[in-house]
């Protein structure tokens, strides 16, 4: 169990974060973008857990933080999807490129 060094885990989380960010920047579909954000949040969760487990096993701050992040991510997703649905009503599309009326 302890054979896995922290660096591996951090590498995973970092990769996850970058993937998420890449997805956010490139995917047109809002739902997918939302998922990408979730990826990023989860990579942060991994960070927290890893730090807590490896560096500061004494306290549970990291774990708690993770739980809260998950909760809030859910709330965020709920609101976001509600908004996207409403946007679909008016725009007949959830392509982010179609929602660029306001600019400059």
């Amino acid at each position: 169990m302890n054979s896995v060094p922290i660096s591996h885990i951090l590498f995973v989380s970092t990769a996850l974060f970058c993937i998420g960010m890449f997805g956010l920047f490139t995917r047109r579909n809002m739902i997918t973008m939302l998922m990408s954000v979730e990826l990023m949040l989860n990579s942060v969760n991994i960070n927290f857990v890893a730090f807590n487990k490896y560096l500061y096993p004494g306290k549970l701050d990291g774990i708690f933080f993770t739980i809260f992040i998950i909760t809030i991510a859910a709330a965020e997703a709920a609101v976001a999807i509600a908004i996207i649905i409403n946007l679909y009503r008016s725009h007949q599309s959830i392509d982010v490129e179609d929602a660029t009326e306001m600019k400059f």
Binding site: V37, F51, D61, I72, E76, V79, I83, L87, A99
Partner: protein
């Protein structure tokens, strides 16, 4: 013990009580919008009034939540702003289907801000931040059938989600570095090693996003333009103010060890913000969008003051936010009435405005002068003190650039005054009958604009509350 709890959590609890009342109202038999709005306004006024009674310093939940005179004062300012906004929203909401939901979301977000301001550790801070952001995104979409409204909401929720992701990454780094998430302890561990700097910058970017400092401001204009005016006002004054409070206190206390670093960061951010804010404001045609950019420029000035990193620095920031509440809300008040009644939101629609609506014209003019920082309005004092605090560091070129930008900002504020008073227009906005509550709030704002600066004890009290490095 319980009394302590009640006292310390006073303002949060008050807001919570109002929230529950509104829920019951919602569940109960439906009533006319007017009566609901009046009731809410009364409640909010009581909320403001109660904020001044029985303040107490102390902390709860093993330091996650702490409060003191300064924090109470900040919350009072936010309460006041919320009340004024709700008064002004009257003209818009009285015909709206979901009045109560609007307030539920708004007050929910307000409560989130309160917790954020009182937060004693990063977890609480994060919770407060999200709790204040997510409802706003929802409420930005409150003109359900408007395309722009939902676009605004979408942009806001996605951007904020992204920013909070980066913020969290930063928090996780901080946690990794210092092994703690409580402000009291992380300060000790932080230094200027690359990782620390990165973590710090990620945190700052979270703040900067909320106060819409360049280059993290891009969502602002679109959201302000798309959202209903009341919401825009709330975004530009309350949420911005709340985050600024936290930002300044965090920098001054938690990140004291790396003060030289964040001084430079603020230097860069403030210049970028002032300049690009001005440059964009110059060319706006929609008055809400214009106010968005002008508010960005204002934030730049606030950052200049913040960089003073002295007691005067913090005081000037908080004082300016107070001033800004009055000035900006006066402006938004007029704009909201005009857009609600006449449906006009373009600057060109304000041509010849004075011929038909002298009262609103004067209010808007005074507000704009205050934003521009012309004496005798409070804005003058606010800007003067900010720049003065910024100068304390002896960085005169920063001040020089800021001062030059004040001239630029003059141009676009005067542009609107010019439209109102000087430009000819065959079909100006028809004479508007201003609802009494809105009028009342506008009067309040104007009085505030004129008196807050001239009466020095306001600044002096803020000064005595605040603290330098």
């Amino acid at each position: 013990m319980v009394t302590d709890l009640l006292l310390l959590l006073k303002q949060e609890l008050l807001v919570a009580v109002i929230l529950f009342l509104l829920l019951f109202l919602k569940l109960g038999r439906d009533r006319s919008n007017e009566s609901t709005l009046n009731l809410v306004n009364v409640l909010l006024f009581l909320n403001v009034a109660a904020g001044f009674l029985g303040a107490k310093d102390g902390e709860l939940f093993s330091g996650m939540f702490h409060t003191n005179a300064l924090i109470t004062a900040e919350k009072n300012i936010l309460n006041l702003a919320a009340w004024l906004i709700s008064l002004q929203a009257y003209a818009w909401l009285r015909t709206h289907r979901h009045v109560i939901e609007f307030y539920l979301l708004l007050l929910g977000s307000l409560m989130g801000m309160f917790f954020m301001i009182s937060s004693g550790n990063l977890l609480m801070f994060y919770l407060g931040l999200e709790m204040s952001t997510i409802p706003l995104a929802a409420v930005a979409n409150f003109d359900l059938e408007k395309r722009q409204s939902s676009e605004a909401a979408m942009k806001m929720i996605i951007s904020s989600a992204f920013s909070s992701a980066l913020l969290l990454l930063g928090i996780s780094f901080v946690y990794g570095i210092s092994g703690s998430i409580s402000f009291a302890e992380i300060g000790a561990g932080i230094s200027t090693e690359p990782l620390h700097i990165l973590a710090f910058l990620l945190l700052v970017s979270g703040f900067a996003f909320k106060i819409s400092a360049v280059p993290f401001h891009l969502w602002t204009a679109d959201v302000y333009e798309g959202a209903p005016v009341g919401v825009t006002a709330f975004l530009s004054v309350v949420s911005k103010g709340a985050v600024l409070f936290v930002f300044v206190s965090t920098l001054y206390t938690v990140f004291k060890p790396i003060a030289p670093l964040w001084y430079n960061v603020l230097f860069v951010l403030s210049l970028a913000t002032i300049i690009s804010g001005n440059l964009f404001a110059l060319r706006q045609q929609n008055i809400k969008r214009f106010l968005a950019f002008s508010s960005i420029a204002q934030v730049g000035f606030i950052l200049v003051g913040m960089s003073g990193s002295s007691q005067a620095g913090m005081a000037s920031v908080i004082f300016f936010i107070l001033v800004y509440v009055f000035s900006n809300l006066a402006a938004f008040g007029v704009v909201s009435v005009v857009s609600a009644v006449a449906g006009k939101e373009s600057i060109d629609d304000y041509k010849g405005f004075y011929q038909t609506n002298p009262f609103l014209s004067w209010i808007l003019t005074i507000a704009l002068f205050s934003l521009a920082g012309v004496p005798p309005t409070a804005g003058f004092f606010g800007k003067f003190f900010l720049l003065m605090a910024g100068t304390a560091k002896g960085n005169y070129w920063l001040i020089a650039i800021a001062a030059v930008n004040m001239v630029v900002s003059f141009y676009y504020y005067l542009r609107i005054v010019k439209a109102i008073f000087m430009d000819q227009n065959e079909t100006p906005v028809a004479a508007i009958t201003v609802p009494v509550t809105v009028k009342f709030s506008l009067y309040l704002c104007t009085i505030g604009i004129i008196l807050v600066g001239l009466i020095s004890w306001i600044y002096d009290t803020i000064f005595s509350l605040s603290s330098g490095l």
